[in-house]
Amino acid sequence: MTPPKKSAVDRDVLIGMYKQMCLFRRFEERVGLAYTKQKFSGFCHLHIGQEGLAVGVQTALRTTDYMISGYRSHTQAIGKGIAPGAVMAELFGKVDGCCRGKGGSMHMFSKEHRFLGGHGIVGGQAPLAVGVAFAIRYRNEDNVMICYMGDAATNQGQVFEVMNMAATWDLPVLFIIENNRYGMGTDITRTTSVDALWKRALAFDMAHSDVDGMSAITVYNHVNSLVESMRKNKKPHLLEALTYRYRGHSVSDPGSYRTKEEVEDYQKNRDPIIGLGRFLLEQKFATEEELKGFDNEAKEKAKEAEAFADESPQPPVEELWDHVLVD
């Protein structure tokens, strides 16, 4: 047995990523359970299985960078800095939610944390992202714009339009295609002409790459180098991250379009939390007990978030009139 390669990444960073992934996993499990208990309703898309990507990207960013996403964005919102309690309260439609209960599962926002939403129209966030990248250039900032989208969004017309603009005008947006292989219930290969989604960038002469989204370390290292160069050259980049969701498209999805074995293979052999945990143990960065402790801590935080959301009051009904227009 060859001795493990020495990590290029600082222990504290790795431990931080591990803890964050545990929190994401436990938080989303609580969300799923709260839904089944009817604490809230509507659509609910869980991110379980895709934590490695969210954590790897987030760890490579500055707080001044911007992020936008689709409708599967609870954990990304927490990663960008929104308190778990505020996300849970938003799911419950409560007044302490990050949008005072006006957004819900698909629409998490925080101006303070530069998280520009949760958006419910597939691909609709891409033009917005390019607009923010435009503003970054306009003001000569060295921030970057992170635009998450699902694999199926790459077939939306608006996305092509703005990739063209970002590439033409050198706008610093990092398009991250979270390829979990299924657009709702349709295998992406059945609807898409290319066999790898990074090839979409070829049409625009845009820089591109792909990455194993199930490995937080790999994602972190890759995105770190990408954003550093983007801060200087202001050019867009398309990153395809291969990942996998364990749960259905939404809570009401029985997942009959894929086999149980496929799901189990990911859960057992490619799980991002197990993967990073194993690495931490190999590197002797943590003991089994410590890892268990991190997970318990995450469970506790998720529980606290739910308790916070439970206790948060309903917004006054009269608030429905607010926020249509500003003065």
């Binding site: 911007y66 936008i68 939610g97 990050c98 949008c99 005072r100 209960g101 006006k102 957004g103 629409h107 926002f109 925080s110 101006k111 520009l116 939403g117 958006h119 419910g120 129209i121 609709g124 891409a126 033009p127 917005l128 992202a129 390019v130 607009g131 923010v132 990248a133 435009f134 503003a135 306009y138 017309g157 608006q158 339009e161 703005v162 063209n164 603009m165 033409t168 607010d322 926020h323 249509v324 227009l325 500003v326 003065d327």
Partner: protein, 326 residues
Amino acid sequence: MAVITFREALGQAIAEEMTRDANVFLMGEEVGLYNGAYKVSKGLLDQFGPKRVWDAPISEAGFAGLGVGAAMVGLRPIIEFMTWNFGIQAFDQIVNHAAKMLYMSGGQFNIPMVFRGPNGAAHMLGAQHSQAYESMITNIPGLIVATCSTPYDGKGLLKSAIRNNNPVLFLESEMMYGMKGEVPEEEYLIPLGKGDIKREGKDVTLIAWNKALHKAMEAAEALNEQGISAEVLDPRTLQPLDEDLIFESVRKTHRLVIIEESWSFGSVGAQISDRVHKECFDDLDAPVHRVCNEFVPMPYNEAQEERTMPSVDRIVKAVKDVLYIA
């Protein structure tokens, strides 16, 4: 007072606001080097440079959405659609994103921007280039919709629209860009949400906007020769409507005819009619009449096109109907 064209007045408004606020930029097809498809943006690229004036690809959804995103982080985009007929390509960005961002985010992200361009028919452009969109876009909470019928109104309203902190949809007209009118040298603003009486009268109120306003003015002149005194009201902002002014006028004249270059089903005119019937019921001597486009796509043939849109004859006929004159 200087007499200038409509396009010059609108161009002045943009230039003045771009000078006033460095966050304002203009983007659209042909707005820069080409000086604007209808020359509204003539000279702006020279004056402000390529950082402020952007020639966009033919990607309405894309550059409209780019504007929304830029507005989310504090820029004040002016997005020009060569015509609103192309603007509907961007309806997802306007309706699902610009209109709802403030609301979905619980008041965090307002969208200070203007989408502007000509609306309605020009002359013999056929079905796809001749539609008036106010009925569709006024039906969305979160959007302000303004329109103008004179160079003076156009300049003052557009300046207010650019300064407004909400998404404003601004409707112009190809047919009016060359129209001349008096515009003061000194700066002025026309507030959004305030209508204007373009001609005073006592027997009937005519409500019209954009280029249909001029049809209404012609009809008022024709009616005057027949001893009928028509008041002509331009709401100028269609969402929100200046209902107070409308009710005041109808309470004075007791009769209302609405003229719009739009299809009648579920239109702005239908909305005004509904509000007037509800709020001025006891003041009405006749049901509100409307003169709208015939419910057909716009024909190309000149005579057919003319017949499809509100005409002076149809307006005069409607006025006589509400006055019970055979």
